[in-house]
Amino acid sequence: MKKLINDPRAVVGETLEGFGLAHRDLVEVHLDPAYITRAGGAMPGKVGVVSGGGSGHEPLHAGYVGQGMLDAAVPGAVFTSPTPDQIIPATQAANGGAGVVHIVKNYTGDVLNFETAAELCAAEGIDVRTVLVNDDVAVEDSLYTAGRRGVAGTVLVEKMAGAAAERGDSLDAVEAIGRRVVQNVRSMGLALAPCTVPHVGKPSFELGEDEIEIGVGIHGEPGRRRAGLEPADALTDHLLEPVLDDLGLAPGQRALLVVNGMGGTPLSELYIVFRRAAQLLAERGVAVERSLVGNYVTALEMQGCSVTVLRLDDELTELWDAPVNTPALRWGV
């Protein structure tokens, strides 16, 4: 295992220290327990927006703390959901008296830990709502699974719920925006090469010379199926078609298209994928009105990408365009 780290067990803490030093103007980093808050603290009367999950997905979630997005983020160990003793102070810090929305990716661990924290916060008088993100169409949504996973769509939920909170929406309204984004967003990913969790020290899965994992998650977990390597255009189609079918995106509708890198893939390759995805959407009569290309929800140094499509309406577009000033997403300010 070759990594730019010191002690595998210190990775999360040292990352946070560096993050805090690099973004002093935007965020405040708390180390024990670990959570990140927007510089300046809770804004009285504003709904707080908090998210969190395992580390290793940087810039998710800490990179999205700041004006117009998250009030606090809670990082767990690498690929391991955070614990209630972190989520609770983060929620308290984000509460400006108008309640807090938890944005939680749909993994058993995240759900259980945020649930526990929410119960304890409620007992303290904080009105906590939970928006579960489950955009990954690679996983069947059936009674017989833990449901769909939350992946790159999470960034869109955080951005738009954050923008709604920033413009002064009520707790009900921010929660509703979050759910509306979830209802209208779908994703699917693939990996060309696995990643190595620092404290594990070996690759999360093994792939042959010409093998890829289709439907891979963002935790280095194996995907839905193993397949042969194909040209980028064909691979893009394999990701995008299930996304569009599941979303039922009709001709004439408008979309936000995200091509997200898993961490170890060059930006140039993401643009090649974006090119094909935009072509396919054009063929289907869908207008790509907003887009994002880059490493937004990663799995350490995994090589691969995911494609996310959100059905846009006027309000969501406005919330997307609203000013945001975070370490990883910034415009309009």
């Binding site: 767990g76 058993t108 259980l112 830990n113 526990t116 996983v139 699974t145 996973r149 977990e221």
Partner: protein, 214 residues
């Protein structure tokens, strides 16, 4: 015969820490196959924290020991296992109440409470390829055994058998469920760690000295 008292409970937790540290890699590999590879690290980190807490002084009662474990696991493990084991130990602590030492029926009650906690949180049923597949047969076996120690031994053996029986199953809860049919052919890491935790309870009961000396 050893009393299943406060000292035993502390030894149990220390023995858990020892075994889970030793089994760290194995649990990581089991979880890499059908999950995200962190279960061994999660359990090791959690029980190390339990031991650090115990090092500040004996917990004083079985219930206090179980509660201490619940709190530390809840705040240090994270993932799915943290809240599940946290709830299990918390419910077990409540079930034990103010008893100084456990006999057969209270062992059974303790394990049943733990199992119910896991089910309440995780909503898994037997056969879903989760730690419930170790807890559920353990409780049943404890109910059919005699004194406390026998109940623990029966529970541990049943948990082991239950864990082994997860191999052919297709997961329907937790991260492994995302793999669908591909989850078959592998042991469930949480079921295996449950069997280690229950076996540790037996070890702590039979070998007062070796386990307590650590």
């Amino acid at each position: 015969m050893t009393e299943l008292d406060a000292a035993w409970a502390d030894r149990w937790l220390r023995e858990c820490a020892r075994v889970l540290a030793a089994r760290r890699e194995e649990l990581i590999d089991l979880d890499r196959a059908i999950g995200d590879g962190d279960h061994g690290e999660n359990m090791d980190r959690g029980f190390q924290a339990v031991v650090e807490k115990l090092d500040e002084g004996p917990s004083g009662s079985v219930a206090a020991a179980l509660k201490l474990a619940a709190t530390m696991l809840m705040s240090k493990v994270g993932g799915a296992a943290g809240p599940l084991y946290g709830t299990a130990f918390l419910r077990a602590s409540v079930a034990v109440g103010e008893r100084d030492a456990l006999d057969g029926p209270t062992v059974e009650a303790m394990l049943a409470a733990a199992r119910d906690g896991v089910v309440a949180r995780g909503k898994a049923e037997p056969g879903d390829k989760t730690m419930v597949d170790a807890w559920a047969p353990a409780v049943d076996a404890a109910g059919r055994a005699g004194d406390g120690e026998a109940a623990l031994a029966a529970a541990a053996s049943a948990a082991e058998a239950g864990a082994l029986a997860t191999k052919p199953l297709v997961a329907r809860k937790g991260r492994a469920s995302y793999l669908g049919e591909r989850s078959a052919g592998h042991l469930d890491p949480g079921a295996v760690s449950t069997s280690y935790i229950l076996r540790a309870a037996v070890t702590a009961a039979v070998s007062e000295i070796s386990a307590g000396a650590e």
